[in-house]
């Protein structure tokens, strides 16, 4: 970018010298700074059914490891069909006898208690979340745990105000809901699921992801401390089979699933004809669109937040950068400088920006797609940084010269990999952004207000972030268009999905 006068400075001072560069070296290395708070892990976690920790009927357990170093953290109970049945019975029983009979203001009080107890034990939960899932402690401490508490607090306040949720109609709870959540935000997804369900008066059977069950079962301790009546919330742990059983159970009046589009479709197929209400929160391939009049440094920060937050394990990640051609070189140059100072490393270190990839399987998927990007001719850039020898890690990666025909522009990578495409006009940006089967989120960076509003109108996405990215709030409804799913979570709109109009 040249200023008026810098033209004259440029010619007098450069004269064939090399282009100026910034040095991001090791003059001032940060020492290791691990978070030392005790996560208070148990060596074995049982199922949580009817207010008790119970062993699985099969007697089987599976290991949960720390993806940062592949060491075992704990054993987790492996639920079977009989356990899922017991959980649903407990939930139905609690609904019929207790929960549906409680006044909304009393239901609210339980949710407020859960929020406060989680706030009390915030640091402990943050460490546990980082160890189990691999996300940086900075994120679990500053985002996941406080946001989970906020979700409980927000929804608590709705429990006795349900007459305002659906103007002109009365809402009633559905009964028992079955929920399956993913491994990318274990505790937060748990809060997103059970808080509205309970506020609305339902009871819950929930299965966390098999690689991240620990904070779910720790929350069961809080649920007990809060005095929540037994059976209102039940947790069953395990993998795909258990998830399928939770989704298919006849007592589930509604099921809610967050995960990949692929698995979402499997569930939808299996439930076809059952009459169950469903909400699906699936994958995404969001476009983050930067115009030439955008505040560029802040846009670069938004791009980085969009794709490297939580190692890119985010359904609404801004995994496609659509940059206006006039500023493409500039943005890419700034982006490269910015990612050179991102720190990849042990998630428990407070200075880590990009933690561990959640599992070996996910690492394999990311590697395969990145290889395809190289093979298909896109230009790859990764900063030089030393990765730990154990554990699952991937460098932040950007691909430029990507087009919509590349696999890395079409398939969800779910990793710290950004694909950069260019566009020339507003209409072209809209077209490219919408040229996908997904439709969860999008970002728009421009100084012009009317353009923000136009883009927001035209983009086929459930969440549009303008001059920001990856912002979440319990009051703000979240969910997708097209194959990113249906239904909303959060806000007034999200609540209605957990009730029926009476």
């Amino acid at each position: 970018m040249s200023t008026l006068a810098s033209e004259k400075k440029k010619s007098s001072s450069r004269n064939g010298r090399a282009a100026p560069e910034l040095i991001f070296g090791d003059l001032w290395e940060y020492d290791p700074s691990p978070e030392t708070a005790d996560p208070k892990l148990k060596s074995r976690y049982e199922l949580f059914i009817n207010g008790e920790f119970v062993a699985p009927k099969s007697g089987k357990y599976f290991d949960s490891i720390n993806p940062a170093n592949e060491l075992k953290l704990a054993e987790i109970a492996l639920a079977g069909a009989a356990d899922v049945e017991a959980a649903y019975q407990a939930a139905q029983n609690a609904f019929d006898k207790t929960w549906s009979k409680l006044a909304g203001r009393e239901r609210a009080k339980y949710l407020f208690r859960i929020a406060r107890l989680l706030q009390d034990r915030a640091r402990e939960f943050a460490v546990a979340e980082t160890l189990d899932g691999g996300k940086p402690i900075k994120e679990s401490r500053d985002f996941d745990v406080p946001m989970a508490a906020a979700h409980f607090f927000y929804h608590a306040g709705w429990a006795d105000k349900l007459e305002y949720v659906a103007p002109g109609a009365r809402v009633a709870p559905l009964g028992v809901v079955g929920q399956v959540i993913p491994w990318n935000f274990p505790l937060l997804m748990l809060a997103w699921k059970i808080a509205p369900a309970l506020a609305m008066g339902n009871c819950v059977v929930l299965k966390p992801a098999e690689t991240t069950s620990i904070t779910c079962l720790k929350l069961a301790e809080i649920i007990r401390d809060a005095g929540l009546p037994p059976g209102v919330v039940n947790f069953v742990t395990g993998a795909g089979e258990v998830g399928a059983a939770v989704m298919a159970h006849p007592l589930a009046a509604k099921v809610a699933f967050t995960g990949s589009t692929e698995v979402g479709k499997i569930i939808m197929r299996s439930l076809a004809g059952s009459g169950k209400k469903m909400t699906m929160e699936l994958g995404g391939k969001a476009a983050n669109i930067v115009f030439d009049d955008a505040p560029l440094d802040q846009a670069v920060e938004g791009i980085v937040n969009g794709i490297f937050f939580n190692q890119g394990h985010v359904c609404c990640a801004g995994s496609r950068l659509l940059v206006h051609e006039p500023v493409a070189d500039q943005v890419i140059a700034k982006l490269k400088n910015r990612i050179r100072v991102l720190r990849v490393g042990d998630p428990i270190d407070k200075n880590t920006d990009i933690g561990a990839i959640n599992s070996k399987e996910q690492l394999r998927k990311i590697t395969e797609l990145v290889d395809s990007g190289v093979k298909e001719g896109a230009e790859i850039f990764q900063p030089a940084c030393r990765l730990p020898t154990k554990g699952f890690y991937f460098r932040p990666t950007i691909f430029s010269d990507v087009t919509m025909s590349h696999r890395i522009a079409r398939e969800e990578i779910f990793g710290p990999v950004l694909s950069i495409l260019t566009f020339r006009t507003v209409d072209e940006a809209i077209e490219k952004a919408n040229n996908t089967a997904y439709g969860l989120s999008a970002g728009v960076w421009t100084d012009k207000g009317s353009r923000i509003l136009k883009m927001s109108t035209e983009l086929k996405a459930g969440v549009v972030w303008a001059n920001t990215y990856n912002k979440f709030d319990p009051t703000s409804p979240f969910g997708g268009y097209k194959e990113s799913g249906f239904g909303r979570e959060g806000g007034r709109q999200g609540l209605l999905d957990y009730g029926k109009l009476a």
Partner: protein, 334 residues
Amino acid sequence: MTSAAREISFGFTLQRENSERMSVRFSLPAFRRLFDEIGPVDQIGVEERVAKYTTRSIKKNSKLWGLKTAVSMVDLTTLEGKDTPGKVASLCRKALRPHDDPEIPQVAAVCVYPAMVRHARRVLGSDTAVRIASVATSFPSGQAPLRTRIGEVKSAVADGADEIDMVINRGAFLAGEFDRVQDEISAVKEAGGTATLKVILEVSELETYDNVRAASFIAMEELREGDFIKTSTGKTSLNATLGNNQVMIEAIRDFFLDTGIAISMKPAGGIRTAKQALQFLIAVKETLGDAWLNNARYRFGASSLLNDLLRQIEKEKTGAYQAPYYFSEAAESY
């Protein structure tokens, strides 16, 4: 700089009645051109970026390195109506020897009013690494005739100042008279001769980050490598923050990558604790890189900061939190 060079010309060709061609120069006001060139700044975005600096955790050797580097970057300052030769002498002695510990470096400079420069020079002598910075140009308001302001600069340099901290004409800036702002900077630079020039933008009066970015570029266009842009006089209620520091160092970075000229940075006022100083250094490290982590390229305009840095260094070395009275007073009270 001629007005012709300042115009962006949109050439329109008109057919006149008698077939003469005429091209019309259409020029936008200077402030709109400048803002279009440098691009907008989003306030919330900046503040989110700098919030990440505050969650960095700097420990052990990296903390010691940061603290000592910060000491070496201090422009130890006294700018009070009640300054006397005695006060300035005390300040200079502290600058030369901040603490009993020989591993602690000297500060970069002392910063005083023009009338105090010769007293500082007398105490520091002529063979010292500690520089003498003088505020000048009717600091802090700058509201005096140009000739007075220039006279002050010359007199401070004559008395022995190595560096001049000047204030820009905020009134002219806010009225969009960018030429005037630049011409005055140029005049001060000339009057200072080889003295290092630090240009104070007075961020609190510019108010928006867009203005801070614009003022940064306006200043940098007149500066030489080794000169500084500086946040504030320290005499208003809002001084250096991570936010305005970030906007200015991003401007410095953009200017450097574009021209190859490395301008230096000085946040001043409002940085009282070692913790804050480390956060500013983190910002520099992650935005400008290693080449700016030294006192030729970065300074802290501060007074009470120095002793807090010393307390933290001592705590790092001994493991014990320190009472303030173990460290010599110099800047706070006399």
